[in-house]
Chain length 456, copies 2
């Protein structure tokens, strides 16, 4: 076995040991256990501590050797020196996968780098799939496996995330929770001394539960290998890349974080785009794009129609999407006639694109019917719908959800976050991603147009 | 009296008549009344309808002439023709201010333009402060006056908003609600046929309740007058400008909306910056900046320190703020010594800026003390604090709120929106704006640095 061939044991273990489990609620070792339990992991969990008898209702084992059967996965919540010794014991006992949480390795200097070399050697000797060290951990919602020290429970879904930063990984997870976006797998790569971003990406590329992958990158040594691989995965499922490190000063910060040199940022982005990857410049935009790409079909071109009852947002969408190369064709005579069938022969507005139905558009039925008309027009590749929250004029969610057709519809609800959240479910189930800002909706449309045109 | 001299009657009327009040819940005339009542207006409200006896618990008057005392403000929720006749009656009866909601005027062509000219003539003849026509309406939270057909109740505060679009005005209001940002006055200018953006801005410039103004602009004919005026107001209170209309296609949409020609976008932005105005490119960024500018003191320079327990977000902040001209000076030996007093003599991390306290930073006390250390260092003009939501490691809100000093602190909580909302109050009261994304926090810091340096 090799570390990569043991990746299934890392993400789908039958049993998990927690080395360094503790009763102190503010310690990492406590929260790893809390996270496993809160997440609902159904396999065996073995807390390991030399003296404690029970933790969070679980029997505690005095050593890894005392655990009845060698666990598939060991989570090592010990300091950097003890972690090295523990990993060696894992190897001897036949543990196939490990998450090493501690920092204090190559990111802190030569002494740490020597310790890290011992980890690498041990993992290679025993073929251990080692995540980290210096990692927040990983999640597999399909197995209810939450191996991070941030107890969370996520909606399960089809988006997997690989992050070079724990904090940025959490940023994407919390944003996904607000966006109603389900997650399949999540991993923070840490120091990447055994398993690198590319190893996880290759695994997720073959993972049937993963329909799209988001990457947060600071920099890897072998950027070419990673981008080429991502390009191959991207032909089957979308890969969205958020690469940090634009400012020169960021290079220094990255160096002292996980030991990476931040690469040549612009060359990197250009290479990503050449390989058809969708690149973004924030965690929010990554989540926005991943939600669009796993909810709606891709757009077959960049011709956009907007349906709204308020003109200003239409102007803002034209601004935003126009800058990215989208076009807003006028309505054909046939479509204008169909619009008049909905709005009446002498509508009190100018019929154009963006289509501002003004007062008539306060009716969700009118919005639904206008969306159907524009969606049926072959002059458009994507329809954006904007509606403002009102206590007596309900959102047009049922109307949008009942539309049939293979052309993407993206909704923007001008509303409080809570107002939009309540509408996410019915729309997502019908293939309509809904957003809370015009910029997010424009980003979603842009991602769908990019992915639909990636072969061009 | 002139329209502008009657602005106080528009925003602070003692009594309001609603012409076109109706019992149909999905009509504008119903929702204007619902909005006034839901908002808690304490003055007299006179619904006017020829046949109804009572509406929403209020006595209905058959005509404006039948109202016992002429109201200060008439809200006219009638069609475009009936509005003209109603405004003339308002003038004859001595009504000093009017909100004309209907569209159907110059934005629809020559016939509408002729009707609009009648409104202008009537307003001039009687000196009526006329908002609109074709407007969503206005709000004055200080008077519990909610004259829009979107029943809302806002936290009162010190930010006033002037929008050339109802939809974009609502976008800013809903975002302000999510951000915990209080509003003082709000107005959608509509067709600006009597009162223009500059008239409202001049009024708000002198308004003691308004400490900052946000403008959403599509375009005005006399841009020079507006920008010069905004520059004058900006010397006393911040004016944040979001100007839409970047894409050429947007010009057409704007033309058919409220009859405005979209101006030369870039020249416009350059003029704004020359006059010291802070310009943004989204409604969210406008709200972000206004929250920062009314919560924290301005920064006296562009030297930023970051305190966090997770490195990746620090890199992203350096990226984002570095691109805008911020610098991240290293820690002085004195400050490094003070940091070691907090973190111990041999902290397991490299002490630098951004300061990643790693595991030690999971303690809110450590974050609070490190923030105090960096804030006390004269090498920094602003401190950004990043903390990730965790069930057992509380947010450092009390610690940040207890800091003293006149240097701005901006917090970014990596969390769900609900998680951040719960922390907004205590932090805002202490002068610390908190945000839910790194981009928003960076935008807030940028606004504080801009406004602090506007005289340079």
């Amino acid at each position: 076995m090799t570390p990569t061939s043991n990746l299934p044991a890392l993400f789908s273990p039958r049993s998990v040991a927690v080395l360094g489990a503790t009763a102190e609620v503010d310690r990492v070792g406590y929260n790893i256990l809390a996270s496993l339990l809160y997440g609902g992991f159904a396999g065996d969990i073995y807390p390991v501590h030399p003296r404690l008898g029970e933790l969070q209702g679980l029997r505690v084992y005095p050593s890894l050797a005392a655990v009845p059967v060698p666990p598939d996965l060991a989570v090592i919540a010990l300091n950097e020196r003890a972690t090295v010794a523990a990993l060696k014991e894992c190897g001897r006992l036949g543990v196939r996968a490990a998450v090493c949480l501690a920092g204090g390795y190559k990111e802190t200097g030569p002494a740490g780098a020597r310790l890290e070399a011992e980890l690498v050697e041990t993992a290679a000797q025993y073929g251990i799939a080692l995540a980290g060290p210096n990692t927040l951990g990983l999640i597999n919602t399909g197995a209810n496996l939450y191996v991070t020290f941030y107890p969370l429970r996520l909606a399960s879904g089809s988006v997997s995330l690989v992050s070079q930063s724990g904090g940025m990984g959490l940023t994407m997870l919390y944003k996904a929770m607000d966006e109603g976006l389900g997650i399949e797998k999540f991993v923070v790569v840490g120091n990447r001394s055994v398993l690198d971003v590319a190893d996880y990406l290759a695994y997720l590329g073959d993972d049937p539960g993963t329909r799209a992958v988001g990457l947060f990158l600071e920099g890897v040594e072998d950027a070419r290998r990673l981008v080429e691989l991502a390009g191959r995965v991207n032909r089957v499922k979308p890969v969205v890349v958020y690469k940090a490190g634009e400012a020169a000063a960021a290079a220094y910060a990255a160096l002292t974080h996980t030991g990476s040199m931040v690469g040549h940022h612009r060359l990197y982005l250009e290479a990503c785009r050449q390989y058809g990857l969708y690149t973004v410049d924030s965690a929010d935009r990554a989540v926005t794009a991943l939600k669009a790409l796993t909810t709606a079909p891709p757009a077959q071109g960049r011709r956009v129609a907007v349906v709204t009852h308020t003109a200003g947002p239409g102007i803002v969408l034209v601004d935003r999407l126009g800058a990215g190369g989208a076009v807003f064709p006028p309505l054909s005579p046939e479509t204008e006639a169909a619009v008049k069938k909905v709005m009446g022969d002498t509508p009190p507005v100018v019929i154009k694109n963006p289509l501002d139905a003004a007062g008539l558009g306060l009716s969700p039925d009118v919005i639904g019917r206008l969306t159907a008309v524009l969606r049926a027009d072959p002059a458009f590749d994507l329809v954006l719908v904007v509606f403002c929250q009102h206590p007596h004029w309900p959102f047009p969610s049922p109307q949008l959800a009942s539309l049939s057709g293979s052309k993407p519809v993206v909704a923007c609800y001008i509303a409080t976050q809570a107002g939009v959240r309540a509408e996410q479910g019915v729309l997502a189930a019908a293939g309509v991603p809904v957003y809370n800002s015009l910029e997010a909706a424009a980003g979603a449309a842009d991602a769908l147009m990019w992915y639909g045109g990636r072969g061009n």
